[in-house]
Structures are given as C-alpha cells and as structure tokens.
C-alpha cells in the first residue's frame, strides 16, 4: 500500500483493536465520574492530590483518560471521594432492585 497522506490514517485505524477502543472509552468514563464527584464536593484536582498524597501532575495524569489506571489506584480514589467510581452490572442490579419506587397517576 502506498504511504500517501490520506492512507496513513486508514492504515492506523485498521490496526485499532476492540480492546484499544474499550480501554480508552472506559478510561474516559472513569475520568468523567471522578470529575463529577470532585465537582459535587467542590474539590479541585489539587484538593484531591493533597488527600491522596500525590502531586497535582500525578492526579492530572490519572484523569487524562490515557493512563493505565490500576484497580488499586481506583479504590484509593473511591476511599478519598467516599463513593463508588466503578460498579459491576451485577452489583448495580442488586442495588437498583432494592430501590422502592412510588407510582403516581398523572392526568393528561
């Protein structure tokens, strides 16, 4: 295949494995979740860094969506933020089955 400027993107996109896509998607979802929790607590990345005993640039790396987060580092974040960051579908179905809903009729 000739290496012209248009085909390099096609060649590289063809090499992307499903696990690359899922890795980045989940990574960004986790980053989004952490950012939402920080916002709800009124914390900055610096506040989180202080609580984790890490530098601000290390926290920034964790939130970049490109870092290979370990389960251990996710759990440390969950402890500091006092909330789940990831939940398995099994755990989620258990939690939501315990929620009692009230139904009201609405006149249209």
């Amino acid at each position: 295949m000739s290496k012209d400027k248009t085909s390099v993107v096609e060649r590289l996109r063809a090499k992307i494995q499903p696990e690359n896509r899922i890795f980045i998607q989940k990574n960004l979802e986790i980053s989004e979740q952490i950012t939402t929790l920080l916002r709800s607590k009124g914390w900055s990345q610096k506040d989180l860094a202080l609580r984790l005993g890490k530098s601000e640039s290390e926290v920034s790396k964790l939130l970049s969506g490109l870092h290979n987060l370990t389960l251990k580092s996710i759990v440390k974040l969950e402890v500091q933020l006092g909330s789940d960051i990831i939940t398995t579908p099994l755990e989620a179905s258990k939690k939501y089955s315990e929620i009692e809903f009230e139904y009201h009729s609405v006149d249209c």
Binding site: V8, V9, I24, Q25, L28, Q45, L63, S64, L66
Partner: protein
C-alpha cells in the same frame, strides 16, 4: 532562512465537539501530524500506544471536548515559551502523553485543537530528549506565530467559537 507553513484542516478528524487542525511546512508533502503518524507507524513497539492515542483523539472529539486542564498537560513544555507582556493571555503548546509517546498540540478552546508532531521520549525531561526536544521547540514556535495571526485578525473565531476562520493561503512564517 525563514520557512513557511500553512494551516490544514484534518478532514479525517472532524467531530461533533472538536475540530482538529495541523500545519504543513511548504517543503513537506504532509502536515506535521501525518508526519508524526507516518514515523510512529514504523515503530512496532508502540503500535498499541498509537492506537490508544488515535481512539482518545476520536473519543475526546466526539463526546467530551478538549478540556484543557483535564485532558492535556503542559509539564516540561512551558519552560521554552518566551515570556509575554504582563496581562497578556498566552497560548502554550501542550503535551499528550501515552506511556513514552508524546504528541504536542495547541488547544485553542474546547472545540479547536492543533495537532503538531512528537515522538518517543527517551529522557526524564522531554526537552532534553533528542527525539521530542526539537518538536517541543517547533510546537512553541508555531504557537507563537498562531497567536500573532490571531492578534492580526488573520485567524478569527466563527460566530459561536466552535471553529476558526482563516485567510485563504495564509502563510505562517517561522
């Protein structure tokens, strides 16, 4: 001798939330981002990192937007940026790190990003690395020129600041 470059809209990288651009030097056949991709494609050890980077660029472009303080970092780069007069907001080249792979870019706002060049970092400080050091300097030089063209009105924002408008055949002199 000065060299000239033009702005290239990356047609394969236009997404709902981010429009990506690069620049092409007049003597080169491809823009800086494609030059980066062409060179990195040759290194088998980083195929996975390069794939991750491409997916990340797409995902940010489609779903999140280019949020500067969250997704990009300026570590090791700003030292090379020339001091600007006080009170003047400065544009800086930022870094996208994937393991040892580095890509330098300019985030104009959440919707417009210039992707430049980069490489595999081999030293602790990126600016000392023979692979990426020259691209940091290059990125900063381009950023300063883009900043100048913004101030001259040769590059402007569209009505809702989701894209840029620039003079046809605008030449950036470096």
């Amino acid at each position: 001798m000065n060299i000239f470059a033009t702005i290239e809209r990356l047609s394969d990288f236009q997404f709902v939330k981010v429009r990506y651009y690069s620049i092409r030097f007049e003597e080169n056949e491809v823009n800086e981002f494609f030059d980066f991709l062409n060179r990195m494609e040759e290194i088998d050890e980083i195929t996975d990192d390069l794939s991750n980077l491409l997916v990340w660029i797409e995902e940010i472009g489609e779903k999140y937007g280019a949020i500067k303080n969250r997704f990009f970092r300026n570590e090791s780069i700003t030292a090379d940026v020339q001091a600007l007069p006080p009170g003047r907001k400065q544009m800086v080249a930022l870094e996208l790190p994937v393991e040892h792979l580095r890509l330098y870019c300019l985030v104009l706002n959440e919707h417009v990003v210039f992707l430049f060049n980069g490489g595999v970092k081999t030293t602790f400080k990126a600016k000392d690395c023979p692979n990426v050091g020259p691209y940091i300097k290059q990125a900063n030089a381009i950023v300063r020129k883009i900043d100048e063209h913004f101030r001259l009105g040769n590059i402007t924002w569209n009505y809702d600041q989701t894209d840029i408008i620039y003079l046809k055949n605008l030449e950036i002199e470096l």
